[in-house]
C-alpha cells in the first residue's frame, strides 16, 4: 500500500506516478492531500508537501486529480483535519461528500484523535467511506479500545515513534504492536520507515496484512525532480519499487508459520 503526495512535483507527473503504483501491483493507494502545517512529518514528506503546494495543489485540485486518475485500485485520502474541517459550507460533511463523488474509498487523518472523530465518522457512514485510524507503539488500554471501536477498512499500525521517513532497519516496536492488536478483527497495515522488499517481507511475516510505504517512494520522486529525469523514467523506478514491495509482502506471507490446527 503505497503513499504519495498528490501533485508532487506537479499535477501531470503525479498522475503518472500514481498509475505506476497501480501497475506495480498496489492493492490500495494512499493519496496525500498536502497541508501547509503538517505535524511531525519527516523532511522527505515535508518537502513533497512543499513541492505539491508550490505546484498549486488545493483541496479542489486534489479532487480533480482523483477524478482524472485512471486506476483500478481503491484510493484512500490522507490529510489533516483542518482541510476537512474548512472545506465547503458544511464542516466535514462537504469534504466527505465530494471525496465520495470522485471515488475516494477511505480517509486517514493523522491529527484527528478518535475522541474528536464523531462528525467525521457520521459523514463517512453517510457516504460509504472507510475511516482509518492510526495506532502507535504508545497506543494501549482505553485509547486502543476507543480507536478500534471507531475504525473501519483497516488500521494503520505505525511501526515506530518519531517522524515519518525511510529507515535502514525496522523497528522492534512492530511485533509488539501487532501482538497487542491480535484480538481485533481488522486488517492491519504497517507503516513508518519501511523502504525495501525485505522490510515488507519481515513485517508481513510478523503478522501484518499489508505494508504502507511513503518516504521511500517519495525519495525517488525527489531525486528525479532534482536531476531533471523524465517523468517516464521516474515512473518506471516507482513501478519497480512497488513491484519489489509487493513481492516482498507475498514472500512474507509464505514465510509465516502455518496456523496450528487443534
Amino acid at each position: 500500500m503505497p503513499y504519495l503526495a498528490a501533485g508532487d512535483p506537479d499535477f501531470e507527473s503525479s498522475l503518472e506516478y500514481v498509475e505506476a503504483l497501480a501497475a506495480g501491483g498496489a492493492d490500495v493507494i494512499e493519496l496525500g492531500l498536502p497541508f501547509s502545517e503538517p505535524i511531525a512529518e519527516g523532511p522527505t514528506i515535508q518537502q513533497a508537501v512543499v513541492r505539491s503546494l508550490e505546484g498549486g495543489m488545493t483541496p479542489e485540485r486534489f479532487f480533480e486529480f482523483v477524478a482524472a486518475l485512471d486506476v483500478d485500485v481503491p484510493l484512500v485520502c490522507m490529510t489533516y483535519y483542518n482541510l476537512i474541517y474548512q472545506y465547503g459550507d458544511e464542516p466535514v460533511r462537504s469534504f466527505v461528500e465530494r471525496a465520495a463523488e470522485v471515488g475516494i474509498e477511505g480517509v486517514v487523518v493523522p491529527d484527528l484523535p478518535a475522541e474528536e472523530a464523531d462528525l467525521l465518522r457520521e459523514a463517512c457512514d453517510e457516504f460509504g467511506l472507510d475511516l482509518i485510524f492510526i495506532v502507535a507503539p504508545t497506543t494501549a488500554g482505553d485509547r486502543l479500545d476507543r480507536i478500534m471501536e471507531r475504525v473501519s477498512g483497516y488500521v494503520y499500525v505505525q511501526a515506530r515513534l518519531g517522524v515519518t521517513g525511510a529507515r535502514e532497519s525496522l523497528s522492534d516496536h512492530t511485533e509488539e504492536t501487532l501482538a497487542r492488536l491480535e484480538e481485533y478483527d481488522v486488517p492491519k497495515a504497517v507503516g513508518f520507515g519501511i523502504s525495501t522488499g525485505e522490510h515488507a517481507a519481515s513485517v508481513v511475516e510478523a503478522g501484518a496484512d499489508g505494508v504502507i510505504v511513503g518516504s521511500a517512494l517519495i525519495e525517488i520522486i525527489a531525486e528525479g525532480h532534482e536531476t531533471d529525469d523524465s517523468t517516464a523514467a521516474v515512473a518506471e523506478r516507482i513501478e519497480s519499487l512497488a513491484r519489489e514491495l509487493k513481492a516482498g509482502a507475498i514472500e512474507g506471507g509464505q514465510r509465516r508459520p502455518r496456523p496450528e490446527r487443534t
Binding site: 502545517e37 505535524i39 512529518e41 515513534l161 517522524v163
Partner: protein, 393 residues
C-alpha cells in the same frame, strides 16, 4: 466563566488536542502529572520558593505618574520586566521545569521567538541540571542576537530553524518533531498558552501568579480594582496570566493588544483575533483556534508576537464577549516604546509596547479612568532594532 479548560482542554469550543496518535499518550501523561502535582502542597511550595528566591517575586505594581498626567487617567504597570531573565516567561518555565523533573524527564526542548522563553528555559535547565535545546527561526536569531548569546552562555543549544518564514511558528514545528522522536526522556516546554491540551491550561496556571499578585497590589495601591487590564498577545500567556486575576470581576474590562504589523489591512500582520474574517476556527499546531487568513503574511516588528495563531482561551474570551482584542501597528508600538523610555525611565520590550500603545489609545478616547498594563518584558533585547529605528548610533 466557562473558559477554564476542562479535562479535554476545551475552552468554549476552542482548544482540544489535535496531534498525531503517537503524541496522544505522552500528552495524556503530562496532563495527568500536571493535574496531580498542581494540587500537591510539596510542588506548590517548591515552585513558590523558587519564584521568590530565584525569580524575585513578587514583582511590584508601579504608578506611572507622567503618563497618568499626560493622558488624564491612572496608569499602572505590573512590572514583569523585573522578573529574573527580564520577562514573564520564567513563571512558566519554572513550573514546567519542576514538572518535567518530577516526571523523570532528562532533557528540555523549547521554541522561542524573542528569545525570552528560550532564555528562561535555559535558566531553568541550568538551575535544575537538565540539558536544553532551543529551536529558533533564523529571522529571530538575527534580530534577537543578545538572547542567543545568553542561552548559549547558560549551556543551551540553539538550533536555528530555516524553513518557511523562519520564525516562531516554524520553531514550534521543529520542536514538535523533536518531541515526537524523543518524548520518552524529553519534555517539550511550550512557551505560551498555545498548542494541544494540556499546554494552554497549564501555561495559564503558571502565569496566573501575575494576575493574582496584581489584583492584590492594585487594591492596596489604588484602593480599588482597575477599570481595564491591557496586555499584549502573541500566543497569549502574559495576557491570560493577567486576565485570570480579573476575569471574574465583571466590571474590569480586558484588552488584548495584537500585532497589526504594517496595518490590519496591509496583508502583513499577526493579529488573528482583530483581523481575521474567518468565522470558523482552524486547526493549527494541535489546537482549534483563530489563525490569520491564508492571504496574510505573518509579520510583526516584535519577534515574540510574530505568531499566526493565538491561544484558544483568548479566542473563547473574544467569542464570549469577555475580552476585546485590537491591533497595534509596528509604528504605534515603536512610538510607545520610545515614549515610555523617555517619560518613565523604563525601556519596555517591543511586545508590551503594543499593550502600552493600546492603553494610551483607550485613555485618549477616555474609555477608562484606571488602566493596568502588563509590562511583561524589558527592552534590552531590542536595542539593535531601536538603534536602527531611532538612529542611536
Amino acid at each position: 466563566m466557562s473558559t477554564d479548560g476542562d479535562d479535554e482542554g476545551e475552552f468554549d469550543g476552542f482548544g482540544g488536542r489535535y496531534v498525531p496518535e503517537p503524541l496522544e499518550a505522552p500528552l495524556e501523561e503530562l496532563a495527568e502529572t500536571f493535574d496531580s502535582e498542581i494540587d500537591s502542597e510539596a510542588f506548590r511550595e517548591e515552585l513558590d520558593g523558587l519564584l521568590e528566591h530565584f525569580g524575585g517575586r513578587p514583582t511590584p505594581v508601579f504608578y506611572a505618574e507622567t503618563l497618568s498626567e499626560r493622558y488624564d487617567a491612572d496608569v499602572y504597570f505590573k512590572h514583569e520586566d523585573l522578573l529574573h531573565g527580564g520577562a514573564h516567561k520564567l513563571n512558566n518555565t519554572l513550573g514546567q521545569g519542576l514538572l518535567a523533573k518530577r516526571a523523570g524527564k532528562e532533557r528540555l526542548i523549547a521554541e522561542t521567538g524573542a528569545g525570552q522563553h528560550g532564555t528562561a528555559t535555559a535558566m531553568v535547565g541550568a538551575l535544575l541540571d537538565l540539558p536544553v535545546t532551543v529551536y529558533m527561526g533564523t529571522k529571530d536569531v538575527d534580530r534577537q542576537e543578545m538572547n542567543v548569546f545568553r542561552m548559549r552562555l547558560m549551556g543551551a543549544e540553539v538550533e536555528p530553524v530555516t524553513r518557511g518564514n523562519a520564525g516562531l511558528a516554524e520553531a514550534v514545528d521543529a520542536a514538535l518533531e523533536d518531541y515526537a522522536e524523543n518524548f520518552e526522556d524529553t519534555h517539550y516546554l511550550v512557551g505560551s498558552a498555545v498548542g494541544p491540551d494540556p499546554f494552554p491550561r497549564m501555561v495559564r496556571e503558571f502565569q496566573s501568579v501575575i494576575g493574582r499578585e496584581a489584583r492584590e497590589q492594585i487594591l492596596e495601591l489604588h484602593g480599588d480594582l482597575p477599570d481595564a487590564c491591557v496586555a499584549c498577545v502573541g500566543g497569549g500567556s502574559n495576557a491570560i496570566g493577567l486576565f485570570s486575576g480579573f476575569v471574574d470581576d465583571e466590571d474590569v474590562a480586558l484588552y488584548g493588544a495584537e500585532p497589526a504589523g504594517k496595518g490590519l489591512d496591509s496583508g502583513e500582520h499577526s493579529a488573528p483575533l482583530s483581523a481575521s474574517k474567518q468565522e470558523n476556527p482552524q486547526i493549527f499546531q494541535g489546537m482549534k483556534t483563530k489563525v490569520i487568513d491564508e492571504e496574510t503574511t505573518n509579520h510583526s516588528v516584535s519577534a515574540g508576537l510574530d505568531y499566526p495563531a493565538v491561544g484558544p482561551e483568548h479566542a473563547a474570551l473574544q467569542s464570549l464577549g469577555r475580552a476585546e482584542y485590537h491591533g497595534i501597528t509596528d509604528e504605534e508600538a515603536l512610538a510607545a516604546f520610545r515614549e515610555l523610555s523617555e517619560a518613565e525611565g523604563i525601556i519596555p520590550a517591543l511586545e508590551p509596547s503594543h499593550a502600552i500603545a493600546l492603553a494610551i489609545k483607550l485613555a485618549e478616547e477616555d474609555r477608562h479612568d484606571t488602566i493596568l498594563i502588563n509590562l511583561c518584558g524589558r527592552g534590552d533585547k531590542d536595542m539593535q532594532t531601536a538603534a536602527e529605528k531611532f538612529d542611536l548610533r
